[in-house]
C-alpha cells in the first residue's frame, strides 16, 4: 500500500475509537428516540386522564421493580470497574462476570414481576395503565437481551485470551448504561410517581 501524503491521519487504534464511538452514539440516539416516544405516549395518557391510575386499577407492588432497579444499577457499577481495569491492561473476569450475573438476575426479576402482576389481577388487557406497564417493560427487556448477548460476546473474547479492544468495551458499556438509565426513568415515572 502506498504511503499517503496527508495531514491528520489517525493511527488505526484511534480511528477505531472515533468510528465506534460515533456509531454507538448515533445508535443510542436512535434507541433513545424509541423510548422517548413511549414516554411521550405515557405522558399523554397520564396527563389527560381525570384520575390515575385509571378507574379501578390497583398500582403494581413496588418490591420487584425496586429490586430490578437495584440489580441493574449494581450491574452498571461493576461494569464501570471492569472498564477501568481493562483500560489499564488488566484482564478482569470477575467484574464482567458480576455484570453478567446481575444482568441475568434483572431478567429473572422481570419475569417474576410479570407473573406477580397477574396474581395481582393486572393483565395485559386490563386497560391503558396495564398496557403501558407490560408493553414498556417488554420492550426494555428485549433490549436487555441484546445487551446480555453483547456481554456474553465480550466474555467469550476475554476467555479466549484476546486482548480486548478498548473501544469494544466502551461501546458495550455505553449501551448497557443507556439501558440502565432508561429503566431508571421508567421506574420513577411509571411505578413511583
Amino acid at each position: 500500500m502506498a504511503q499517503v501524503q496527508s495531514t491528520n491521519i489517525m493511527t488505526a487504534k484511534e480511528g477505531d475509537k472515533v468510528i465506534s464511538s460515533v456509531g454507538m452514539i448515533v445508535t443510542l440516539v436512535s434507541f433513545g428516540m424509541l423510548f422517548l416516544t413511549l414516554m411521550m405516549a405515557f405522558a399523554l395518557y397520564r396527563f389527560t386522564a381525570p384520575v390515575w391510575p385509571p378507574a379501578g386499577m390497583t398500582r403494581p407492588d413496588l418490591l420487584l421493580p425496586t429490586l430490578s432497579t437495584l440489580m441493574i444499577f449494581l450491574s452498571s457499577f461493576f461494569y464501570v470497574k471492569f472498564e477501568k481495569n481493562t483500560s489499564t491492561g488488566v484482564v478482569d473476569k470477575k467484574n464482567l462476570t458480576l455484570t453478567l450475573v446481575l444482568g441475568l438476575a434483572f431478567m429473572t426479576s422481570q419475569f417474576l414481576f410479570w407473573s406477580h402482576l397477574k396474581s395481582q389481577g393486572i393483565f395485559v388487557s386490563s386497560g391503558v395503565f396495564a398496557s403501558i406497564i407490560y408493553a414498556f417493560t417488554w420492550i426494555h427487556a428485549a433490549h436487555i437481551v441484546v445487551g446480555l448477548a453483547l456481554l456474553v460476546w465480550l466474555f467469550g473474547a476475554l476467555n479466549s485470551g484476546d486482548k480486548l479492544a478498548a473501544v469494544k468495551v466502551s461501546s458495550v458499556g455505553k449501551f448497557w448504561h443507556f439501558l440502565g438509565i432508561v429503566w431508571l426513568i421508567m421506574f420513577v415515572t411509571i411505578f413511583v410517581l
Binding site: 500500500m1 502506498a2 499517503v4 501524503q5 496527508s6 495531514t7 491528520n8 491521519i9 489517525m10 488505526a12 484511534e14 480511528g15 477505531d16 472515533v18 468510528i19 460515533v22 456509531g23 448515533v26 445508535t27 440516539v29 436512535s30 434507541f31 433513545g32 428516540m33 424509541l34 423510548f35 416516544t37 413511549l38 411521550m40 405516549a41 399523554l44 395518557y45 389527560t48 386522564a49 385509571p54 395485559v124 388487557s125 386490563s126 386497560g127 391503558v128 396495564a130 398496557s131 407490560y134 408493553a135 420492550i139
Partner: protein, 575 residues
C-alpha cells in the same frame, strides 16, 4: 477532520461472495437498486389497477383481471381496492424510493464521493440489505393470508388498523414488515452518518463534499432520529392487535378501551413529516450537483444550498401537525403548526433560487441526466408551491383528504423524487456498470414520463379542488362528482402513458448493462472523486486515498487550460 485509511482487501472470488453475500458497498447498492426497481414495478401495477377502477368502475381489468379476480369476473372488488391503495403507498415509499434513493445511491455514492474504500461498517451494511429482504417477504406474505393484506391506508390510523377495523393477520404482518424495514434503514443511517463523519478523504471539509452527499447525510440523520418513532408506534399497534393492550382503542366498539386513537396520528406524523423530507433530500442533493455539472459552472451558492437543506431538515421536525388540522387540535397548536410550516418556504426559495442561479449564464448540455434534473426543478416547483394551500388551515379544511393532497404529494414524491432517481441512474450508470445508457431512449423516456406525470398529477389537483375525496372505490355514487368522470379517465390514460414509458427505461437499463457502449473513466467530464478511478469502479475504489484540494463544482475557471473543469484532487488554479 478525522481520517482513517481502510485496508485493501482481496477481491472476492466465489459467486456468492461477489454477488450475493457481499460486503462491498457497490454491490449492496446494486442489490438495493434491483430490489427498488422490482417494487417500483409492483407498486406501479397497483396504481394502474387503482386508476382503472376509478376511470371505468365495473369494468374488468384487461388481461390480468381474470387471473387476479376470478370471483368478480375480473373487476377489482372494493375490499381489494382498499388493499391496493394501502400497499401502493407503502410499497412506493418504503420498498421503492427508500431502497433506490437511500439504499442504492446512498451506498454507492457516499464512499466514492468522499474518497473512502467502503462504508465504515460493511457487515452492518450487508445486514441492512438482508433485513430489507426479510421485510419484503413479510409484506408480500400478508397478501396471501385468508383475509388479505392491510387495507387501512399507508397511514393505518387506528381504530381502523386495530382489530376493530381490520381483522386477520394481514395488518399485523404489515406492522412487522415496516418495523423490520425501519431497523434496516436505521442500520443504514448509522453507517452513512459514521462514514461521512470519519472517512472523508484528507482535505475534504464538510463544505467540500458534493451536495449529493449532503442530501444523503441529512436524510440519514432524519432516518436515525425519526424511524424509531414510527417503530414505537408500530410496536404499540402490534401489541394492541396481538396482546390485547388498549393503547389506541376507544369508542363504543372497543369493549376494553380507554386508549386514544389520535395518539397514533401524533406518533405517526412526528415520523411521517420528516419521512417526506427523507425521501426528497437525496433528490435535492443530486439535482444541485447535476445542474452544476451540466451547466459547466460552479453550483451557485453551494454553501447556502447545503445550509438551506440543513435548515429544512431541522424545521421538518416541528411541523407535523399540518397533517392533522381536521382532527380538531387546539387552535393555538393548529396555528403554530401553520406558522412553522410556512417558514419552510424561506430555505426552499433560497435553494431554488440557487438552482436557477446555477444554470444562469452556464453552457448547458442537455444530456439525459440534465433533462431529468431540469424536470425535477419544474415539478418540484409546482409540487412544493401547492403545499402552501395545504399548510393554510382554512383552505386545508376543504382540501384535506381530497385528491388535491394526492396530487401535491405525488408531484413532490412520485414526480420529483422519481425524476431525481432517474437522473442519478443515468448519471452514475457508467461508473456502476462500465457502459453508457442509450441517450435517445433516455430522452424518449424523459419526455413521455414528463407528459404522463403532469397529466396525472395536475389532473388530480384539479379534481381535488373540485371536491373529489380520496380512497374511494367508486366516486360516481356522488352527485357532486358526476362531472369529473372525463377528467378521471384523462388521468388514467396519462397513467397508462407514464407506465408505458418506464418500459423504455427498463429495456435501456438492462440492454445497456451488457451491450451499451463501453464507458471511459470520466464520460461526463466531472471533477468529483468517483470520476478519478476507472469505470466500473474496482472493488477497492481507490488504489491511493486521494487528497482533496478544491471543491466539487470547479467548472469554467477561466485560468484552466485544456479542460473546463478540475478534479477535486487538483490545486485550485488561480490567475
Amino acid at each position: 477532520m478525522a481520517f482513517f485509511e481502510q485496508e485493501i482487501h482481496d477481491a472476492p472470488s466465489t459467486f456468492l461472495s461477489k454477488y450475493v453475500f457481499s460486503f462491498d458497498h457497490k454491490v449492496i447498492a446494486k442489490q438495493f437498486l434491483w430490489y427498488g426497481i422490482a417494487f417500483l414495478g409492483i407498486g406501479g401495477m397497483m396504481a394502474l389497477l387503482i386508476r382503472w377502477t376509478l376511470a371505468f368502475p365495473g369494468e374488468p381489468f384487461p388481461v390480468l383481471g381474470q387471473i387476479l379476480f376470478p370471483d368478480t369476473n375480473g373487476v377489482v372488488p372494493p375490499d381489494t381496492y382498499a388493499m391496493l391503495f394501502t400497499l401502493h403507498g407503502t410499497i412506493m415509499i418504503f420498498y421503492a424510493i427508500t431502497p433506490i434513493l437511500i439504499g442504492a445511491f446512498g451506498n454507492y455514492c457516499i464512499p466514492l464521493m468522499i474518497g473512502a474504500r467502503d462504508m465504515v461498517f460493511p457487515t452492518l451494511n450487508m445486514l441492512s440489505f438482508w433485513l430489507a429482504l426479510v421485510s419484503a417477504i413479510l409484506l408480500l406474505a400478508s397478501l396471501f393470508t385468508p383475509l388479505g393484506g392491510a387495507a387501512g391506508g399507508w397511514t393505518s390510523y387506528p381504530t381502523l388498523s386495530t382489530l376493530i377495523g381490520s381483522a386477520g393477520v394481514g395488518q399485523t404482518l404489515w406492522c412487522l414488515a415496516l418495523f423490520v424495514l425501519g431497523v434496516s434503514s436505521t442500520m443504514g443511517a448509522v453507517n452513512y452518518i459514521a462514514t461521512i463523519i470519519t472517512l472523508r478523504a484528507p482535505g475534504m471539509g464538510y463544505f467540500d463534499m458534493p451536495l449529493t452527499v449532503w442530501g444523503l447525510w441529512l436524510t440519514a440523520v432524519l432516518n436515525a432520529i425519526f424511524l424509531p418513532v414510527l417503530g414505537a408506534g408500530l410496536l404499540l399497534l402490534t401489541f394492541d392487535r396481538v396482546f390485547g393492550t388498549t393503547f389506541f382503542l376507544a369508542g363504543a366498539a372497543a369493549t376494553s378501551g380507554s386508549g386514544d386513537p389520535v395518539l397514533f396520528q401524533h406518533v405517526f406524523w412526528i415520523f411521517g413529516h420528516p419521512e417526506v423530507y427523507i425521501l426528497i433530500l437525496p433528490a435535492w442533493g443530486i439535482v444541485s450537483d447535476l445542474l452544476s455539472f451540466f451547466a459547466r459552472k460552479p453550483a451557485f451558492g453551494a454553501r447556502s444550498t447545503a445550509l438551506s437543506m440543513t435548515a429544512i431538515t431541522i424545521l421538518s421536525t416541528v411541523v407535523y401537525g399540518h397533517h392533522m388540522y381536521s382532527g380538531q387540535m387546539s387552535p393555538l397548536l393548529t396555528q403554530s403548526f401553520m406558522m412553522l410550516t410556512m417558514t419552510i418556504s424561506i430555505p426552499s426559495a433560497v435553494f431554488f433560487a440557487n438552482w436557477l442561479g446555477t444554470i444562469w449564464k452556464g453552457a448547458l448540455r442537455f444530456d439525459t441526466p440534465m433533462l431529468f434534473a431540469l424536470g425535477v426543478v419544474f415539478v418540484f416547483g409546482l409540487g412544493g408551491l401547492t403545499g402552501l394551500y395545504l399548510a393554510t388551515v382554512s383552505t386545508d379544511l376543504y382540501l384535506h383528504d381530497t385528491y388535491f393532497v394526492v396530487g401535491h404529494f405525488h408531484y413532490t414524491m412520485a414526480a420529483s423524487v422519481l425524476l431525481g432517481g432517474f437522473a442519478g441512474t443515468y448519471f452514475w450508470f457508467p461508473k456502476m456498470f462500465g457502459r453508457m445508457m442509450n441517450e435517445t431512449l433516455g430522452k424518449w423516456h424523459f419526455w413521455i414520463s414528463m407528459i404522463g406525470l403532469n397529466g396525472i398529477f395536475m389532473g388530480m389537483m384539479i379534481i381535488g379542488h373540485a371536491g373529489m375525496h380520496r380512497r374511494i372505490y367508486n366516486p360516481f355514487v356522488y352527485e357532486f362528482l358526476q362531472n369529473l368522470i372525463p377528467l378521471n379517465m384523462f388521468i388514467t390514460y396519462s397513467a397508462i402513458l407514464m407506465g408505458s414509458a418506464q418500459i423504455i427505461f427498463v429495456y435501456n437499463f438492462i440492454h445497456s448493462m451488457y451491450k451499451g457502449p463501453v464507458a471511459t473513466q470520466n464520460p461526463w467530464n466531472v471533477g468529483t472523486l468517483e470520476w478519478t478511478i476507472p469505470s466500473p469502479a474496482p472493488h477497492y475504489n481507490f488504489a491511493e486515498i486521494p487528497v482533496v484540494k478544491c471543491g466539487p463544482h470547479e467548472f469554467g475557471n477561466p485560468n484552466l487550460k485544456g479542460k473546463d473543469f478540475q478534479y477535486q484532487t487538483e490545486e485550485l488554479v488561480k490567475a
